[in-house]
Amino acid sequence: MDTIVLSSSPTASSTPNLPKTPAIDHLKGLLKQIVRVTILDGRVFLGSFAGTDQPLNILLINAEEYRIGLEENPEGRYVGQIVIPWKLIVKVEGEVQQEDNGQMYF
């Protein structure tokens, strides 16, 4: 079964006093991964998760904006580097990765 593989990323920078907890490690594991963020007005953003702060302003890079339903733009439009305040966010989704059990490679 596919599961989300979250691991503490060695390439993350953070404030020095940030505690080392499983939740924060999971969050760091999402860095540089493609995430899909759905917001209240029906827009969906697809981009690389680049960071967040405590109030959860989510920073995406190389992001594309999609509009579903009325006035939809199914092809999306490039919006680059964006920050999405948590108050607008309905859902954040992370990319499901194949669990690396060595069987993918021969």
Binding site: T15, I24, G51, Q54, G80, E93
Partner: protein, 696 residues
């Protein structure tokens, strides 16, 4: 924010080929463990980088944000239209096109016209005929007339875009190039667009499906579009008469359109949704959304009329083979507040018409330009001057090629620079002053050697340095005067600027004195020099009078005055001048300011109002006798109009003090500068107006 239903089925969500799973709780749980002020970032990303991100939900930054009331119903490009509705649509699209030409973004103007994005949907073969059963809304209006017009509009935008991107005008300053990945039919031949428009015109001519009133109104709009496209596509040099015919026909069509205004559809009409001012949120753009207010139709027709006037002027100018006339026309456009400013497209076209990167005026080489440069001031050809130099030159290697190369580099940008936007034009002139001085120095060196070989002072060849000098001093004068027009000068800087310009004019006049003595009296060059002499004398009198009247503005606090002065006139203090042997003429010297002020105050004979009176007499004399100089050509009336404007400026200054003694009692704050009234000189405000200014 207008909350919407966000329960979006998984299959409709974008995935880019990935499989996603909800991780919202990962964020909420991590936030509980984080302290306020802490953050997690990718290693190679800094807080500074993060600050550059566009904030979603922030109206000023989020170009995709839909705020309350911005939701428009879905647009149906195949909706049947009445002819009068189509007229209204085309008129508004004309307005948006002119707003793009005025410097707005395509995404805020032309691209709000939704048919631009649905041209492919306007295909009769894909539409069932039952949709168009209402005989008053024939389908040809969409599939023939509208489709052809939109094709013509996009092709006009494409040709304009190509002209504007040639480098004569500045992207993001004069115009906006961003196309947001929307097609301007770049690959469609102009001929194809023209034939669609002709087909539409012919269908309108023959149809009986609606009244002749609307047939004519629509035909005028189709024909105007066709002619604008033809003018943009026609080589201005190939057939001036054909170009002129096109402009005349366009004017006729414009007159018909003006006499057939289209009625505004009722507020509930779906026709209003043909334009979506919020379209930018769907387009590939980073620029925040701005709703461009549309001008009244009459204003749009005036803009199109100005465009036609600009083409007319250019058509005539392209046939004028004088550098001086080109410079005069460029000056008049900048100097006259009454003349409408030319749109960036026309300013770019004027520059490419003068020099397209290969030839001057489509047929001349740089050699022609050098010849005109000397001929138009000295009245003799460059060949005759060059042969005198060759005859008397004491060394083996001739100095001409170096000097000619300098001229090649100077003149073309100088003429083209008259059509830059005003701040860029000023900067260009200021930067060119060093090169003009190098040229002057090279010519001084040549004439010094010639004099050593016995060429007398009266020979025209010895006046060659003065030709370069008059162009250079003219450029300095422009740099200073344009500072008033651009409202650059603080109050205390204004008298100093008039003092400097009066000195530059003094040098210029003495240069003209030398030239007038030797240039042939019956030549056009002599006629122009005489005109210049009178004009500059008047300008000097006016500048001196305003300098003295506003002398009380000068701050004699040296520590404040000195840095402002050196910053404002930095073009004169470039270290490169040290490497040139000849001393520059017309450069400011702040040390002479205080002695000048002292001298003026001791001069009991000096009368500011007398200077103004003298200037008015000279200028009125020129206008009265219709003296517009030697090289004004078809712009003689425009030049006389400029002189009249100067006469008006004199009238506004008649109440200046009559003597130095009266200066103390004169309230200098009554001098009001308004570039829309006169670009360079103030007027004396009435006392009530003055009091009002003091209150606010």
């Amino acid at each position: 924010m207008d909350d919407m239903n966000v329960d979006i089925p998984e299959e409709t969500l974008p995935s880019a080929g990935f499989i996603f799973e909800d991780v919202t709780s990962v964020f909420t749980e991590a936030a509980c463990d984080m302290e306020l002020g802490s953050f997690v970032f990718m290693d190679d990303l800094t807080l500074h980088d993060a600050m550059g991100a566009f904030e979603i939900g922030e109206p000023r930054l989020d170009s995709g944000l839909i705020t309350e009331g911005q939701n428009l119903p879905p647009f149906d490009p195949t909706m049947p239209l009445l002819p009068q509705e189509l007229c209204w649509i085309l008129d508004r699209a004309f307005s948006y096109e002119m707003e793009w030409h005025a410097g707005n973004l395509l995404s805020h103007t032309v691209f709000t016209f939704l048919y631009v994005h649905h041209l492919a949907d306007l295909d009769v073969d894909f539409m069932p005929s039952y949709v168009y059963q209402d005989p008053s809304r024939p389908r040809e209006l969409l599939f023939v007339v509208l489709k052809a017009w939109v094709t013509g509009l996009l092709k006009c935008c494409d040709l304009s875009w190509r002209e504007l991107s040639k480098g004569g005008v500045q992207d993001a300053e004069d115009w906006q190039s961003e196309k947001c990945d929307v097609s301007l039919l770049e690959g469609v031949p102009v001929k194809l667009a023209l034939s669609s428009l002709e087909e539409a015109s012919s269908w309108l001519l023959n149809t009986t499906k609606f009244p002749v009133l609307w047939r004519n109104a629509l035909r005028a709009r189709i024909t105007l579009r066709k002619i604008i496209l033809q003018i943009m596509h026609t080589d201005i040099f190939a057939s001036p008469s054909q170009y002129q015919d096109l402009i005349d026909t366009a004017r006729e069509q414009l007159a018909i359109i003006r006499s057939h205004p289209s009625p505004v559809p009722v507020a509930s009409s779906p026709v209003h949704h043909v334009f979506d001012p919020y379209i930018a949120r769907l387009l590939k753009t980073f620029v925040p959304l701005r709703i461009v207010p549309l001008p009244a139709p009459e204003e749009t027709w005036r803009s199109i009329s100005d465009l036609l006037d600009g083409w007319q002027e250019l058509c005539v100018l392209a046939q004028v083979h004088n550098l001086s006339t080109w410079e005069i026309v460029g000056h008049l456009r900048v100097w006259s507040p009454q003349l409408p400013p030319r749109i960036p497209y026309l300013r770019s076209q004027a520059q490419s018409t003068f020099y397209d990167g290969l030839l001057i005026l489509n047929k001349f080489t740089f050699t022609w330009m050098v010849d005109r440069f000397f001929y138009e001031t000295l009245g003799v050809t460059y060949d005759s001057l060059a042969s005198t130099i060759k005859q008397h030159w004491p060394f083996q290697a001739l100095p001409l090629s170096r000097m000619e190369r300098m001229l090649y580099k100077l003149i073309t940008p100088h003429i083209r620079g008259q059509w830059l936007n005003p701040p860029r034009r000023r900067r260009h002139l200021a930067k060119s002053l060093l090169d003009w001085h190098s040229l002057y120095d090279a010519l001084i060196e040549i004439t010094t050697h010639l004099r050593d070989t016995g060429v007398t002072k009266d020979h025209l060849v010895t006046q060659m340095p003065n030709v370069a000098l008059v162009w250079r001093l003219g450029a300095i004068r422009e740099v200073i005067f344009s500072g008033f027009q651009l409202e650059l000068f603080a109050r205390e800087e204004r008298p100093i600027a008039y003092w400097l310009v009066a000195q530059v004019l003094d040098e210029h006049l003495s240069c003209l004195d030398d030239l007038l003595r030797v240039v042939h009296k019956d030549s056009t060059a002599h006629h122009e020099l005489q005109f210049q002499y009178q004009l500059l004398t008047a300008l000097q009198s006016m500048s001196t009078a305003v300098f003295v009247a506003s002398m009380s503005f000068i701050s004699f606090d040296w520590s404040r005055l000195r840095p402002t002065f050196y910053r404002r006139y930095k073009w004169a203090f470039r270290p490169e001048y040290e490497d040139i042997e000849t001393q520059p003429i017309g450069h400011p010297d702040i040390c002479r300011l205080m002695p000048t002020c002292a001298d003026v105050l001791q001069n009991e004979l000096f009368s500011p109002s007398g200077e103004i009176e003298m200037a008015e007499t000279i200028l009125s004399g020129l206008t009265k006798f219709g003296n517009s100089g030697g090289w004004a050509a078809s712009w003689a009336n425009d030049r006389l109009q400029f002189l009249s404007c100067l006469v008006d400026a004199c009238k506004g200054l008649r109440a200046l003090p009559a003597s130095v003694k009266e200066i103390e009692a004169f309230d200098a704050s009554s001098l009001k500068w308004d570039p829309t009234v006169h670009p360079w000189f103030p007027a004396i405000a009435a006392s009530a107006e003055r009091r009002e200014d003091q209150i606010y």
